[in-house]
């Protein structure tokens, strides 16, 4: 019998070995797969119920914090300023993935990074609060002024420091209250979500950096930069003839000025009156597709801007203009130009004409398929204000430890060089003229040097509606500009070139006043 008992022992040993192997599979080798399972809400709830660091503005206003909660979890997130900062802080929710800084700085807020957890050797032995405080570059007074000036019109306001890329205000109306979304009670959060998702005005979407719009005439700044970069155009030469219509080469829809008006003159004058015909010609015949695409992309189009908020949209500048047909020599009379298809390589001043240069005539004035985020258009102005350099835009400047000591400072970082400093200087002066004597007069503020460019992106509706734009910069006299901005007010009545200046400029002016008060 003992033989059988030993065999039984062996069988039991094998059975328990199977248990042990399976235990290893569940608890170790397969644990990650189980933890990542869609049905596994443990990680979510644990993450949700953890203490996180607060988020404060540059001027010390608390915009997100963890507060004690009496229920399924110990703490929950509160957003004391409600909708004013919703598109920046985002929210941390049990129901859906976090957005905003709650997402992009999740680990730091939760205190996970190794350097936060173990700042010194002693931290190995104590359970220190390792959560980080996020300090924003946003100024609460500017953010508030922007929101007040925009009021209940749909639109966005972006203000930033062109020298560093630090964003000073980032506001979109409509916004939303993130507090119910962060409710640990799933039904409360779900109801709030459903209501917001059903809203046709999409308040959840941070349109200032997540939606793209026709930039309208504000895009002429990019075309102007590309034109000056060719070396063929300066502030004073050439003088473009006064015309009412531009006929694209080789063929295509003619470009007209607003309401059949005529315009021409030097570059400053073209910008001052926002001359469609001349900028179409500059784009299609002076700059050409390659240089236009290069310059647009140097400003940040067709690429990620490196913003520290998740989900940012890429602005769009079309890149396809068909086959290269012929080169146009700027310095020869039209009857001396080579026939289409002729492969004549010309010296300085040659511009390649493409199959679809007519499209370029449209994109050069911000029409056709060009689309930009308000943030991108603010960066266009910022590059001009900052000697041609686009800085990486960001809203977080510092990470502080629980005891207030500095963990990390986000240093300003150049993103692209959009143009040379001399080109930037030409455009900066031109924008100043536009503000002092053109469509952007609404920007003028006492004691501040301002420059701007308006835009009215017609939506082709009946009655005519347009996005009203203004972009620009401001600074203390004799100093580098310290503010660049873009304002868009969506779908305003009217379609005249005055619309942008009339509607958007006062909002930008309110921001300038607050910043330089």
């Amino acid at each position: 019998m003992n033989l059988r008992i030993r065999r039984l022992g062996a069988v039991l040993g094998v059975l328990y070995l199977v248990l042990f192997l399976q235990l290893n599979r569940v608890q170790f080798f397969g644990a990650e797969r189980l933890q990542d399972d869609v049905n596994n809400t443990r990680g979510l709830i644990r993450e949700f119920g953890r203490e996180r660091g607060p988020i404060v503005t540059a001027d010390g206003v608390l915009v997100a914090q963890s507060v004690e909660y009496d229920g399924s979890v110990d703490v929950r997130r509160r957003y004391p300023e409600g909708e004013l900062y919703a598109h920046i802080t985002g929210y941390q929710s049990l129901n859906v993935e976090a957005v905003g800084l709650e997402r992009s700085y999740n680990d730091e807020l939760a205190g996970d990074p190794i350097d936060q957890r173990f700042a010194s050797l002693g931290d190995l032995f104590v359970d220190r609060n390792s959560t980080a405080t996020l300090v924003l570059s946003i100024r609460d007074d500017v953010q508030r002024a922007a929101a007040a000036a925009l009021g209940d019109r749909k639109g966005s306001v972006v203000a930033l420091d062109p020298r560093s890329g630090e964003i000073i205000a980032l506001w979109t109306f409509p916004s939303f209250d993130p507090n119910p979304l962060a409710d640990p009670d799933g039904t409360v959060a779900n109801a709030a979500f459903d209501a917001l998702l059903a809203d046709p005005d999409t308040p959840l979407l941070a349109k200032s950096y997540r939606e793209i719009y026709f930039p309208g005439s504000t895009f002429k700044l990019v075309t102007a930069a590309a034109g000056v970069e060719t070396g063929l155009i300066s502030a004073t030469t050439p003088i473009f003839p006064v015309v009412t219509v531009y006929e694209p080469i080789p063929s295509g829809a003619p470009i007209r000025n607003f309401a059949g008006s005529d315009c021409g003159g030097d570059l400053v004058e073209l910008l001052r009156v926002s001359c469609n015909t001349a900028f179409s010609e500059i784009g299609a015949e002076w700059v050409g597709p390659e240089q236009m695409v290069d310059t647009a992309e140097a400003f940040g189009f067709n690429a990620d801007l490196g913003l520290d908020l998740p989900g940012a949209a890429e602005s769009r500048f079309p890149t396809d203009y068909g086959e290269r047909l012929a080169d146009v020599d700027r310095f020869r009379a039209p009857d001396q130009q080579p026939a289409n298809g002729a492969e004549t390589v010309l010296p300085n001043g040659a511009v390649p004409i493409h199959e679809n240069s007519a499209r370029l005539a449209q994109t050069a004035i911000g029409q056709n398929d060009v689309a930009a985020t308000p943030l991108q258009m603010a960066l266009v102005a910022a590059a001009i204000a900052n000697e041609g350099v686009v800085m990486v835009p960001h809203v977080v400047t510092e990470l502080l430890a629980f005891d207030g000591s500095l963990l990390n400072r986000i240093e300003p970082e150049p993103l692209r060089v959009a143009m040379s400093a001399s080109t930037a200087a030409i455009l900066r002066n031109a924008m100043r003229v536009v503000a002092e004597d053109g469509t952007a007069r609404g920007l003028l503020t006492e004691g501040v040097v301002v420059g701007g460019k308006t835009g009215t992106a017609q939506l082709g509706t009946d009655p005519p509606n347009s996005h009203a734009w203004i972009v620009g910069y401001a600074g203390v006299p004799d100093e580098e500009p310290s503010l660049a901005f873009a304002v868009i007010v969506e779908a305003q009545e009217g379609a005249s070139e005055q619309t942008g200046g009339r509607v958007a400029a006062p909002i930008a002016q309110a921001v300038i006043e607050t910043v330089f008060r």
């Binding site: 008992i5 039984l8 569940v26």
Partner: protein, 437 residues
């Protein structure tokens, strides 16, 4: 029995060669410290405070351990010193986790522990020799069947969670089946002492009749009570003991055929059996419904990882029945692979010690009885841990000594006392021989 199976061939571990009660004292000290620390940590983990009742708890726990230890010293001084400390370790760990899961169960469980220790001491007192049990084998067999039928009696039986395995007398609910398994193990062993010579030579249906009736009866009762786990337990007990007694492989073959036949019949006949199998095959098919318990148990174990979340720091409360059927998952979550492996090792220690008693027994009854008791313990732990780990379909039975549940705890302490009794008897028998060497 052949000459090669004399007790002296059984392995003697170095531990056993020492003075067993002194070894037991040392082991109990370690268990006491481990459980006390675990209790403090669990409380600290959940409430961030050292428990106010830490002092009384320690007194109570050490007191119970001391009572059992003194009983061993007085009534089973030569017994294997591994049993009691390992059982108390499992019991203590289970208690800590139960307290941490649901404080209101803690008082009940500590009462049941005291009753369990009482049952343990009483068994040592009432059963000075294992052969006394052999004398009452038929009485115990009938008693076992009656116990199994108690829950079916109107007025006495109570159905809880779909299984009619509870009897209610006054304010006390208990599962008579937990005790029936002990008496039936005694009956199987006793009966086979009589008939094993016959069985070894020729296996005829006639000789198997009484034991077959006992088996079929217990299975039938189990099916009516919808308690699959116990059903499996009894069946395995029957086959294993019969196999060892008859020394015939054909028993295993017939057992396997019967098992798979019965399992298939149950699968076709009962919806709840089909559901169990479906859940076993794919719990993620309905992770929020039928598969919820298994799925949550797996998530808990996965969260535990290698070292666990720490006592009181996990979320084992999310698993349905975490304090009974799924206590293994709760331990795995908070103590990690290290803790859950330790529980498996503890059972292996108990099983090894139990099998050693069976090996070293010089009488057939003790051999088969110790074997039966050890099989019960081993299979019960395997079935529930295997169910939690999805090695076998889940059947709701307790993890011996660990799960919340009075009947189970008391019955298992009695089981332990019986093994200790037999261990003591054989070591007393050996000692003079060893002394003369």
């Amino acid at each position: 029995m052949t000459a090669t199976e004399s007790p002296s061939t059984a392995p003697v571990s170095p531990l056993l060669a020492l003075k067993p009660r002194r070894v037991e004292t040392g082991l109990l000290m370690m268990v006491g410290v481990a459980v006390a620390v675990a209790y403090g940590l669990a409380s600290f983990g959940t409430t961030e405070a050292i428990p106010a009742n830490l002092g009384p708890f320690l007194l109570w726990m050490f007191g119970l351990g001391a009572v059992a230890h003194v009983a061993n010293r007085r009534f089973a001084s030569a017994a294997d010193p591994v049993f009691l400390p390992v059982a108390l370790l499992l019991n203590g760990l289970g208690y800590v986790v139960i307290t941490r899961l649901d404080g209101s169960l803690a008082a009940l469980q500590s009462t049941w522990t005291a009753i369990g220790i009482g049952g343990y001491v009483a068994t040592l007192l009432l059963v000075p020799r294992a052969r006394i049990i052999e004398q009452y084998r038929y009485l115990l067999g009938i008693g076992g069947l009656l116990l199994l039928m108690v829950p079916l009696v109107p007025g006495l039986g109570t159905e809880i969670n779909g299984a009619r395995i509870w009897a209610t007398i006054g304010p006390v609910n208990f599962q008579p089946g937990e005790f029936a398994k002990l008496t039936l193990a005694a009956f199987f062993a006793g009966y086979l002492v009589d008939s094993r010579e016959l069985l070894r030579n020729r296996l005829e249906l006639r000789d198997l009749a009484p034991i077959g009736i006992a088996w079929a009866g217990s299975l039938g009762v189990m099916v009516f009570q919808r308690d699959l786990g116990s059903s499996l337990l009894f069946f395995t007990l029957f086959v294993v003991v019969l196999w060892v007694a008859s020394e015939r492989w054909v028993v295993l073959a017939v057992g396997a055929v019967l098992f798979f036949g019965g399992a298939f019949a149950a699968w076709t006949m009962f919806d709840h059996v089909q559901k169990r199998v479906d859940i076993w095959l794919d719990p993620f098919a309905d992770p929020k419904g039928d598969g919820f318990q298994i799925v949550e148990g797996s998530f808990a174990l996965a969260d535990g990882g290698l070292t666990g979340t720490g006592l009181g720091q996990g979320e084992p409360g999310r698993i349905p029945f975490a304090e009974t059927d799924f206590i293994f998952a709760a331990i795995g979550e908070e103590l990690g692979l290290a803790g859950s492996s330790a529980v498996l090792m503890a059972f292996l220690l108990l099983i090894g010690s139990g099998l050693r008693v069976a090996l070293r027994a010089d009488r057939v009854f003790e051999k088969l009885f110790a074997l039966g008791l050890t099989t019960l313990l081993a299979v019960q732990a395997f079935v529930i841990v295997g169910g939690v780990l999805r090695v076998v379909p889940l059947t709701g039975i307790t993890l011996p000594f660990v799960s919340y549940g009075g009947s189970s705890l008391v019955a298992n302490y009695v089981l332990l006392a019986l093994l200790i009794r037999m261990s003591h008897e054989q070591r007393v028998a050996i000692r003079p021989v060893k002394a003369s060497l």
